[in-house]
């Protein structure tokens, strides 16, 4: 494996009874990179993560995590990965501080109580797991996953059940881990989250990877449009349905007229000229590239 490569997945295939969960997935993750696995429910994200985590045996393909084959060397794998599972189960009566001491002891490191403070669990140190909210349970699972400072971190739906402040704190933490050299692989439904924190993403559909690249690369491909949203004092554009250069679709949303353009400069210039001629005053003008979510919907709907 190349020196700067943390994870390599080559032709991964996993079948459950007669359902092909993952069909020939191939991708690489660089060291210190945040990599997102995106896809609708049942796309195979969790299965890929579970194969990389050594929780499931692949039916075919080759996996490599920091030079370790997850299906053959589970013990060595435990020291190089940290895992936040989609459903983070701990014994109901285990206290937060006990959980930290318990798992750190099995990893052979001192308990990282500082992480409990960092993740807002300091007041819950003596609480039993079953008495924590879903968000607190997710934060504890994350604290346990990073307590032994693993070089690779797998996060499965990390922000599910978290409030806005906790999500923001988690994104900061992931960024800190990335800066410190940790490779992060996250499976998520949240496109905005992936776009914000992932350097590269892979979009999965029906067990196959249908697109890979940086969020910017992915949003630049496809229909390749830019959204131009315009609001004017007299709402002239909403009413008269004027046509402008490079526009291939037009929507009206509240007081805004939204144009989907292949050449936003030409479109904006023509709109401004049109409004000037008819003495309608511009109130708001927004030019936006399509979001990853829109690109995702475009890919998954075809």
């Amino acid at each position: 494996m190349m020196k700067n490569m943390a994870i390599r997945v080559e032709g991964l295939r996993k079948v459950y009874a007669d359902v092909v969960a993952v069909d020939g997935a191939t991708f690489e993750v660089h060291r210190g990179e945040v990599f997102g696995l995106l896809g609708p429910n049942g796309a195979g994200k969790t299965t890929i993560l579970e194969c990389l985590e050594g929780l499931r045996q692949p039916d075919d393909g080759h996996l490599d995590v920091m030079g370790v084959d997850p299906s053959r060397n589970g013990r060595k794998l435990r020291n190089v990965i940290g895992v936040q599972l989609q459903t983070s189960g701990l014994p109901a009566t285990m206290r937060v501080d006990e959980a930290m001491a318990f798992f750190c002891a099995y990893h052979g490191v001192a308990a990282r109580y500082d992480l409990l403070d960092r993740l807002g669990l300091s007041e819950k140190r003596s609480s039993q797991f079953a008495l924590l909210s879903v968000g607190q349970q997710r934060r504890l699972a994350l604290a346990l996953a990073i307590a032994h400072r693993p070089p690779v971190l797998f996060l499965d739906e990390p922000t599910a059940g978290l409030d806005v402040a906790s999500r923001s704190e988690l994104h900061l933490l992931i960024d800190e881990l990335r800066v410190a050299g940790t490779t992060v692989v996250l499976a998520t439904h949240d496109m905005a989250e992936a776009e914000k924190i992932a350097a590269r993403v892979a979009i999965l559909l029906g067990g196959r990877i249908v697109a890979t690249g940086t969020p910017r690369e992915l949003t630049a491909t496809g229909e390749g449009y830019t959204k131009v949203s315009v609001r004017t004092e007299q709402s002239l554009l909403c009413r008269d349905g004027a046509h402008f250069p490079a526009v291939y679709r037009r929507n009206v949303l509240d007081d805004y007229t939204v144009y989907f353009s292949h050449d936003p400069a030409a479109t904006v210039s023509a709109i401004l000229h049109y409004l000037d001629e008819r003495e309608d005053q511009l109130v708001d003008l927004r030019v936006e590239r399509p979001s990853l979510e829109e690109r995702f919907l475009e890919i998954t709907s075809t």
Binding site: G54, L55, G89, T93, F102, A105
Partner: protein
């Protein structure tokens, strides 16, 4: 070593914090012991002879067959073992440590019963205390291993109750706890001798109380020891991390091998 100590300490505390485990480890056996001591000894005075060993076996079965398997299944269903696996907790610890802590709870209750049986209810004391302690340890080992095996092979929380009761209820009726094996009809003996409780009672009666037995106590002790080892080995071998991931090293019906020592003893004795 620190990890194992932490794990042991947590599991031991869980046996007191969890209301179901507290019930099975302490409340159920001690209340039953008090009832048997107060009522049964009055109704049937010869029962005083068997009070202490019978109640020790009862406490052992309550903790190990009714208490231990449930949390093993629930933990697997709740994904706790998946969390354990990704954090490097070995399968051996997951089976061994709850078994050890359960044994610890049983020994606490057994000690209480052995020390209070005579002063509180006039129960007969063993004539050979060393044999009593050794048979108690052997019985606890056998039942704990069997409980762990039930927890490992039971598919879900409902089937664990069924499997546990499949051993527990016949043991209460036919194991010689309430009525000595020698007083049960001989046609029932083959069924009784398929139960660890019956062999434990025979071993207590022969070795610890120096009385006549239906089965040679050495054979009973051997059956207990071999079946305990077999149960524990099978529990480790058949351990499954994940209820959603059905790949295990052997079919769960392999657990039936545990009955082989009892069948061999039965063939030898009949």
């Amino acid at each position: 070593m620190i990890a194992l100590f932490n794990h042991f300490a947590f599991e031991f505390k869980a046996g007191l914090r969890d209301s179901t485990l507290l019930l099975m480890n302490y409340l159920f056996p001690l209340v039953f012991y008090a009832l048997m001591g107060l009522v049964m000894v009055q109704v049937n005075p010869p029962f005083a002879e068997a009070l202490i060993p019978a109640m020790v076996i009862f406490a052992t079965m309550a903790s190990t067959l009714l208490g231990l398997p449930g949390p093993l299944v629930e933990s697997r269903e709740a994904g706790i073992y998946r969390s354990y696996k990704v954090n490097g907790v070995p399968a051996l610890s997951i089976v061994l440590i709850p078994a050890l802590t359960t044994s610890f709870h049983v020994l606490i209750v057994s000690t209480f019963i052995a020390l209070t049986g005579k002063p509180l209810f006039g129960g007969a004391l063993p004539v050979n205390w060393i044999a009593f302690v050794l048979i108690t340890l052997l019985g606890v080992f056998t039942c704990t291993s069997l409980g762990a095996l039930i927890g490992v092979v039971a598919g879900d929380s409902r089937s664990v109750v069924l499997l546990s009761q499949l051993v527990f209820l016949p043991s209460m009726l036919l194991g010689g706890l309430m009525v000595p094996l020698s007083l049960l009809p001989s046609s029932v003996h083959p069924f009784s001798l398929l139960l660890p409780a019956a062999h434990a009672m025979q071993a207590y009666t022969g070795f610890a109380y120096g009385q006549e037995t239906v089965v040679a106590p050495l054979i009973s002790a051997l059956v207990l020891g071999i079946s305990g080892l077999l149960s524990f080995g099978l529990a480790i071998h058949l351990f499954n991390w994940d209820s959603r991931n059905s790949s295990r090293r052997g079919h769960s019906l392999m657990a039936l091998l545990v009955i082989v020592p009892y069948l061999i003893a039965l063939v030898v004795l009949i």
